[in-house]
C-alpha cells in the first residue's frame, strides 16, 4: 500500500471559528484507490475537515493537496476531480432522477452521449430504470442515497468524499451501499468516508479516529485492534475516544 501514489495529503490543517478550534493541526495521507475511513465522535471536526478538503471552506492554517492541487489556491481545480456527498441529502427534490444526474454530469463537463451511456449503466446496476422520470422527492430514502452517490461519482472523480452516507438507513441498504463503495474503489476511485457505524470501519483499508479536533489514531483496522488489544473496531473507538470533551 505504501508505495502507491498519494492523492490526499494534509499537513497541520486547522480551522478556527472565533475561539473554537474545530480542527486542530491534523495531518494525513491517503493513497490512490484506498477506502479511507474518517472516524470520530460527534463534533470531533470530521465534517469541517472534509469541507476544507473539498474547497467548501478556507483553512485557518496548514496546507494540503488533493488530486495534485493545492487546497488553498486551487479549490476550483480540485472540484473538477472530486465528488462529494454531504451528510444532508442535497439533490433537487423537484427534479426527476434523470434530471438531477444530467444536471451534475453536465456541470462536470461530460457530453450528452457519455452521460446517457453512464446513466443507463447506473440505472441498470441500481435497478432504478423505472424511476428515471420520477421526482426525487417521491423516491424512498435508500434510493435517494444511492442516487446521491451516483451523482457524486458519475464523472469518475479521483476521490469521492462521503459524509455519513449511510445515516438513517436499514442494515441491508447499508450493506448494498458498501457494495457500491467497493465497486467505485475497484474502478480506481479513492473513497474518503466518515461514519458512525464501527462495523463499516472494518470495511476500510485504513481509518483515522478524530477526537476533539485531533487525529488520535491512524492505521489499518487490523493493526489498530492489535495496538489497542481490542477485538473489534468498536472497542478501539471507545478506548481512543474515552477522553473526548466535546461529545456527550
Amino acid at each position: 500500500m505504501m508505495d502507491k501514489e498519494i492523492v490526499i495529503s494534509v499537513k497541520g490543517l486547522t480551522k478556527k471559528f472565533g475561539n473554537f478550534t474545530a480542527v486542530d493541526h491534523i495531518s494525513l495521507e491517503v493513497h490512490r484507490g484506498e477506502i479511507f475511513g474518517f472516524l470520530g465522535a460527534n463534533g470531533a471536526g470530521k465534517t469541517t475537515a472534509m469541507r476544507m478538503l473539498c474547497g467548501l471552506s478556507f483553512p485557518t492554517s496548514g496546507s494540503g493537496m488533493v488530486s495534485g492541487y493545492d487546497i488553498i489556491s486551487q479549490a476550483e481545480e480540485i472540484k473538477c476531480h472530486i465528488g462529494y456527498m454531504s451528510q444532508k441529502f442535497s439533490l433537487y427534490e423537484n427534479l426527476t432522477v434523470w434530471e438531477n444526474l444530467n444536471l451534475f454530469a453536465t456541470i462536470y463537463g461530460m457530453n450528452s452521449k457519455t452521460i446517457k451511456e453512464k446513466t443507463d449503466v447506473a440505472f441498470k446496476t441500481l435497478g432504478m430504470e423505472n424511476v428515471q422520470n420520477v421526482l426525487v422527492k417521491e423516491i424512498p430514502l435508500g434510493w435517494k442515497q444511492k442516487l446521491a452517490f451516483t451523482a457524486a461519482t458519475l464523472h469518475s472523480p479521483d476521490v469521492v468524499f462521503l459524509d455519513e452516507p449511510t445515516g438513517g438507513v436499514d442494515p441491508s441498504t447499508r450493506r448494498k451501499f458498501w457494495e457500491m463503495i467497493y465497486r467505485a474503489s475497484s474502478e480506481g476511485m479513492t473513497v474518503f468516508v466518515t461514519t458512525h457505524y464501527l462495523d463499516e470501519a472494518e470495511y476500510c483499508n485504513r481509518v483515522s479516529i478524530m477526537v476533539d479536533g485531533h487525529i488520535k489514531a491512524l492505521d489499518s483496522p487490523a493493526r489498530l485492534k492489535q495496538q489497542y488489544h481490542a477485538k473489534t473496531m468498536d472497542e478501539v473507538f471507545r478506548i481512543v475516544a474515552k477522553d473526548a470533551k466535546r461529545s456527550d
Partner: protein, 369 residues
C-alpha cells in the same frame, strides 16, 4: 463562460419554478389582482367632503349656495347649524370635514359692493381631504355667486372665480397609477423571488452540492437572474393587457421600449435579490432585508409622490434609486409616447445599475466559506 453549464442551469431553474405549487400562479394572479383592484381604490380624488354650514344670512342666495354645495358630487352638506359651536361639534364627532360660515347681511353687503368674507374652516387631520374640501367648497360658492349675478343682471367685483379647473381627477389619476403599478409589481416579484429562491437553496442544502462542483460563479448567478427577464415580461404583459381591456389605457409609445426597460429593471431587481440572498442565511433574514430596500424604493422613487416636491437633499438621493428611472420611462412612454432618443439618460442609467448589480451579485456569491 460555459454555455452548456448555463443552459442546463437555466433548464433546472425553469423546471423548478414551473413545478413550484405557488410561484407560477402567483406570477399571473398577483398582477391581475393588483391591476384590477388598486387603480379603483387608490385615488387621490376626494369625494363626499362633509360640510357643516352656519347660515347667518338666511337669504335666497345663501340657501342656494347650500343647495349647490349639496348637489356637488364632491361635497355633502351635513346640515345647517345655528352657531359655529354646533357646527364644530359635527367635526368633533367626525360627521363633517369643513365648516362654511355665511356672515350676517352677506347678500346685502355683496350687492353694495362691499366684498364680504365667507369663513371656511377645515379639519386638518386628513390634510388632503381638508385642503381639497375647502377648495371644492370655494369653487362651488363662487360658481353659485356668478350664476346668481348673471340671473340678476348685475356685475359685481367679487365675480372672479378660482382658476382651478374641474377636470376629472379620477380618470387622470388612474392613468398616472397604471404604469406605476407595473413598477410596483416588478419590484416585488423580480426582487423577492430570486432572493427567496437562492436562500431556499441554502436552507435545503442543495447550494452546497452546487458549490462543491466546478460550476462557475457567473453561470450560477446568471441562471438565477435570467428567468426573471421572462417573469418580468410576463408581469408587464398582463399589466398592459388589463390596462387596455379594463381601463382603456394603451401605451402612446412603442411597447418594445417598455419591454426593453422591463428587462433592464428585472435585472436590477433580481441582481439586488441575489445580492441580498448572498448576505442571508435564512429566508427570514432575506425577506427583512429586501423590505428595507423596497420601502425606500416605493416611497422615494416618485411612485406615489412627485420627486419635484421632495426637499432638495432627498431629490439628490433619488438619483441612486433605480426604480426612479424605470418609472420615468414607463410614464413617459405610456402617457406621452416618448421614444428611446428622448429617454436615453434613463435607459443608460438603468443599464448601468443592471450591470453594477449583476456584478455585485456574482462577486458576493461565495462558493467557499
Amino acid at each position: 463562460m460555459n454555455a452548456n453549464t448555463l443552459k442546463i442551469l437555466l433548464k433546472k431553474e425553469v423546471s423548478l419554478i414551473r413545478r413550484n405549487p405557488i410561484i407560477p400562479r402567483l406570477i399571473i394572479a398577483m398582477p391581475i389582482l393588483v391591476m384590477l383592484i388598486i387603480p379603483l381604490v387608490t385615488t387621490l380624488d376626494v369625494k363626499n367632503v362633509g360640510v357643516a354650514v352656519v347660515d347667518n344670512d338666511h337669504t335666497e342666495l345663501s340657501r342656494r349656495m347650500i343647495t349647490d354645495m349639496n348637489a356637488s358630487e364632491y361635497l355633502s352638506v351635513t346640515g345647517c347649524y345655528l352657531s359655529y359651536d354646533e357646527a364644530f361639534l359635527q367635526i368633533e364627532i367626525g360627521k363633517a370635514d369643513a365648516i362654511v360660515t355665511i356672515p350676517k347681511n352677506y347678500l346685502r353687503d355683496l350687492t353694495n359692493g362691499k366684498r364680504p368674507e365667507l369663513d371656511l374652516k377645515a379639519n386638518g387631520v386628513n390634510a388632503t381631504k381638508g385642503i381639497l374640501g375647502t377648495q371644492y367648497a370655494t369653487m362651488s360658492i363662487a360658481h353659485t355667486i356668478s350664476q346668481w349675478q348673471a340671473e340678476q343682471g348685475i356685475n359685481l367685483p367679487m365675480a372672479k372665480s378660482n382658476a382651478m379647473n374641474f377636470y376629472n381627477p379620477t380618470l387622470d389619476f388612474r392613468n398616472y397609477m397604471i404604469p406605476a403599478l407595473m413598477v410596483v409589481l416588478l419590484i416585488l416579484i423580480c426582487g423577492f423571488l430570486p432572493a427567496l429562491n437562492l436562500v431556499s437553496e441554502k436552507e435545503t442544502g442543495t447550494i452546497e452540492a452546487m458549490n462543491v462542483t466546478p460550476v462557475g460563479r457567473f453561470e450560477f448567478v446568471l441562471s438565477k437572474l435570467i428567468p426573471y427577464w421572462i417573469v418580468g415580461i410576463l408581469v408587464v404583459t398582463v399589466g398592459i393587457l388589463i390596462g387596455w381591456l379594463v381601463y382603456g389605457l394603451v401605451p402612446e409609445g412603442k411597447i418594445l421600449n417598455i419591454y426593453l426597460a422591463t428587462i433592464l429593471f428585472s435585472l436590477v431587481m433580481s441582481g439586488l435579490g441575489v445580492f441580498i440572498a448572498n448576505q442571508s442565511k435564512t429566508i427570514l433574514q432575506s425577506i427583512f432585508m429586501m423590505f428595507a430596500f423596497i420601502v425606500v424604493f416605493q416611497l422615494m422613487s416618485g411612485l406615489f409622490t412627485p420627486i419635484a416636491s421632495m426637499p432638495q437633499w432627498a431629490q439628490y438621493i433619488t438619483y441612486a434609486i433605480p426604480p426612479r428611472y424605470f418609472i420615468e420611462i414607463m410614464r413617459a412612454v405610456y402617457l406621452k409616447g416618448a421614444s428611446l432618443a428622448d429617454l436615453w439618460i434613463q435607459y443608460l442609467s438603468l443599464t448601468g445599475f443592471a450591470a453594477a448589480l449583476c456584478f455585485v451579485a456574482a462577486s458576493t456569491y461565495k462558493k467557499r466559506a
